[in-house]
Subunit: 310 residues, 2 copies
């Protein structure tokens, strides 16, 4: 199966799915959050998913690597480098290896697959494209690059508009097309619809490939990252609101309505079921909070069973 | 004044000289030991001198930065990168900043001066050239790049021949010419004559610039790194022997005889004084072992006084 995912929420569901599917799982990951720091290419969503699947993610921090240290960042600061996007020492190794691979002429997909293999992952994590796409948000102070908004300004400004620089020239990769072509099930993770999923679906050919799979009978599901009217993590709720959507799982369901067959909402949003069904979607109501490994596996199992029993 | 230096021995004398001279000191440093690791440019001799002058060198290890950690190196190893040339986390920041500066189009000299300024150094450390020069050693198993011989093989093979790849195309920099042109005194540090000093003097125009300064009345001194017939650190004694030189301070004195006015030997080699004088050199006999800050300052003071009283 194929999971479309951004960072932390998608990574947790990917981890749960990995428990059941192992090598049969392929994750297509957002690269709109990628950035260059200190001359190195950083792919936050890919690395979050990879570290989570490798079991080395920091549960305490909610990002980065368990037991991470920041000695290099301190020294970089001493050299006058901007370090508001703080890179850990272990994490830095990922960016070094990636940057070197690209400099050697490999495609991003090839470099990332090599890194995953080195980490011992059974799952494949594919970047949505090999071409650079950079998410930018318009605030009341103008356009900002994504990580300036997300990390430097702590998502404080209201988001008025989003754009994905480079996306019109981006191409969907052979690996992504192949994975979507073979997928028995496609799931959109509980990631931010605008920041994580929209750039993936915005790569020319991606939405068409998902629709084509669906037309061939491959069911498509989406898991709401909005629970009880609030984002589990991050600014998705505020962005839904500032972009004029309903701030609820219903707002997310409407956003995905023309692309998916099944919509998964948390038990606290059970009352929304009739309204979501009225959009023509099937609904799975289940506990979606993935606080530990058992919960990750359970949510994944619920989604898989629900898809299989259609 | 100008000091020609390689790594640890030169760094210690530079540190002693800095105590007395501060901004009046310029170090010209060997770059023949430089190498690329993980896509990053590493300049071991420059960084050893810089860390030493910044007071952050590890006295315990004799290389690298005090309290250094190796988290990134462990992760790089996990990615399958060769890590026999082990880079510390703080040290890695230097290579990242340097590589980025060069990628931005700066000359090596400019990048290194910026790094030194960030470290708060009063002294300027100039690379011998902005062009890539790579020392290679011929052993009984063929030619090896320098760090393979030095670090990976722990200097075990006998050195039969040396070459400095790229040196014929290397150019002496305006900064180096300016420093040598203004120098009141030029000192060759107690560094390895073949591995550290020969590449510096081998840059086309360097030896001529030193000779021209000397012709204008600037005294030139060299400090022996061979004490009691043995290298204070490193393989200088074995290389002297395998290249057919006398393994003693006398062998070093002969090697520098046509370039220097004053030769500095350790007190244990006082008996060599007449023989060294017979080469037409003045001789300073003094304790040259720089075990602590006080000793570094004392050796530096002895050399400076001896030059000033000529």
């Amino acid at each position: 199966m194929v999971l479309l995912a951004g960072g932390v929420g998608g990574a947790k569901l990917a981890h749960g799915l990995q428990t059941h599917l192992a090598y049969r799982l392929t994750v297509i990951v957002n690269t709109g959050d990628d950035l260059e720091r200190h001359g190195l290419l950083v792919c936050p969503d890919h690395d979050t998913v990879m570290y989570t699947l490798a079991g080395i993610d920091s549960r305490e921090l909610g990002w980065g690597i368990e037991g991470e240290t920041f000695a290099a960042a301190e020294m970089l600061a001493r050299y006058g480098e901007e370090t508001w996007f703080r890179l850990g020492d272990r994490d830095l190794a990922s960016h070094i290896v990636r940057t070197r691979g690209l400099a050697a002429g490999l495609r991003l997909t090839e470099v990332l697959l090599g890194m995953q293999q080195a980490m011992g992952l059974p799952v494949r994590i594919l970047p949505m494209t090999d071409d650079p796409v950079r998410t930018e948000v318009r605030t009341d102070d103008g356009w900002l690059d994504f990580q300036t908004y997300f990390v430097r300004l702590h998502q404080a400004p209201d988001v008025r508009e989003l754009r994905y620089r480079g996306i019109d020239d981006a191409r969907v990769t052979p690996e992504v097309l192949d994975a979507l072509g073979r997928a028995g099930v496609i799931v959109i993770g509980p990631s931010n619809p605008f920041l994580s999923i929209a750039p993936i679906l915005g790569v020319p050919g991606m939405r068409e490939a998902v629709s084509a799979a669906r037309a061939r009978g491959t069911p498509v599901a989406a898991v709401s990252g909005i629970v009880g009217g609030r984002a589990i993590k991050g600014p998705a709720d505020r962005i839904l609101g500032s972009l004029g959507h309903e701030v609820s799982a219903m707002g997310v369901a409407r956003y995905y309505a023309d692309l998916v067959d099944l919509f998964v909402v948390d038990s606290v949003d059970a009352a929304l079921e009739p309204e979501i069904r009225s959009l023509g979607l099937e609904v799975l109501v289940t506990d979606t909070i993935m606080a530990d490994d058992a919960a990750r596996a359970r949510v994944a199992a619920s989604v898989l069973e629900s898809m299989a029993s259609r």
